[in-house]
Amino acid sequence: MSSRIAILAAFLAVAVAIAIAARPHDPTAGERVDRITAELRCPVCQGLSVKDSGSETARQMRDLVAQRVAEGRSDSEILAEFRTSYGDWILLSPPLSSWSLLIWLVPVAALAAGLWIARSRIRGGAVLAPPPSPSELASLRERVAAEEAAEG
């Protein structure tokens, strides 16, 4: 009995520990700076985020983000400030705007158009082939019969 209680207590303790560890917590200022700078593209690097870059420009951008976080600005406000200066390009995952949406839509539209053309070609080909006439059918049957007779 006591061993069952001990196992139950152990399970409860583990469950409570997991619940405490998994509970959502407010990110610290440092975590917010990391999260925001991970979304920003370093302007002087090749495909690196501001968080991952060691350049002077990236350091200055990190300092600015840290200052804005300390001032109480929201993540979206801070990102908007950089977008005002550099445009959507500054975001490593730019939002879908009319032009970027076009970049995604054109290949899909081209694929759909290609499939449609291929389908119409295949269908058109099947329709264009006329069925054999009775005389053609008769001559074909004769030919098959002759070939079968020749083979023995």
Binding site: P43, V44, E56, T57, Q60, M61, D63, L64, F82, R83, T84, S85, Y86, G87, W89, I90, A110, A113, W116, I117, S120, R121, G124
Partner: protein, 177 residues
């Protein structure tokens, strides 16, 4: 049906060619990023010669050419003669040239300014805040601000005299209309 498909393919190809032609016609030095067409970010920075602060606001109503430079930037040296000539051309007029020293100590910037014979106002942006506000990728970069305080254009990379004069005159012409 096949005719419609053929026409659709031709139209799509023409659209692609037109898009590429328009895209390649654009000069990469004149990329219109974030700040073009918007009010120029205000700034107040220390003058390199130590004679106090310079703020953009004190040039309100004038055509302002803001040039980001650095002593470690070779293309900045290349473009400097053009800036000197343009500065002399518009000296005493409604056109103002401001040099912003980018990412370096004031001492390094001042030595460069003296060596290159720069006599227009120059300021230090040692923490890069002004450059970030303007969306600068790296020096040299030149911004053209109209009398209304709006950024009318920018030039990425070394600039030459005709481009400078063309941009300045375009702003002056627009301001008089």
């Amino acid at each position: 049906m096949a005719r419609i498909a053929r026409i659709a393919v031709v139209v799509a190809m023409l659209g692609l060619v037109l898009t590429l032609a328009l895209a390649f016609r654009r000069d990469p030095h004149d990329i219109r990023t974030g700040t073009v067409g918007k009010p120029a970010p205000a700034f107040s920075l220390a003058r390199l010669d130590g004679s106090g602060q310079l703020s953009l606001a004190q040039y309100a109503g004038k055509t302002v050419v803001v040039n980001f430079f650095a002593s470690w930037c070779l293309p900045c040296e290349q473009e400097n003669p053009a800036l000197v000539r343009v500065y002399e051309r518009y000296r005493g007029s409604d056109v103002v040239l401001i040099g912003i020293d980018y990412q370096e100590s004031a001492d390094g910037g001042l030595a460069y300014v003296r060596r290159m014979g720069i006599s227009w106002p120059t300021v230090a942006d040692d923490d890069g805040r002004v450059a970030l506000g303007y969306g600068v990728f790296g020096p040299p970069e030149t911004f053209f601000i109209g009398p209304d305080g709006v950024i009318a254009g920018r030039h990425i990379g070394p600039i030459d005299e005709p481009t400078l004069v063309r941009a300045i005159e375009a702003i002056r012409t627009a301001a008089t209309q």
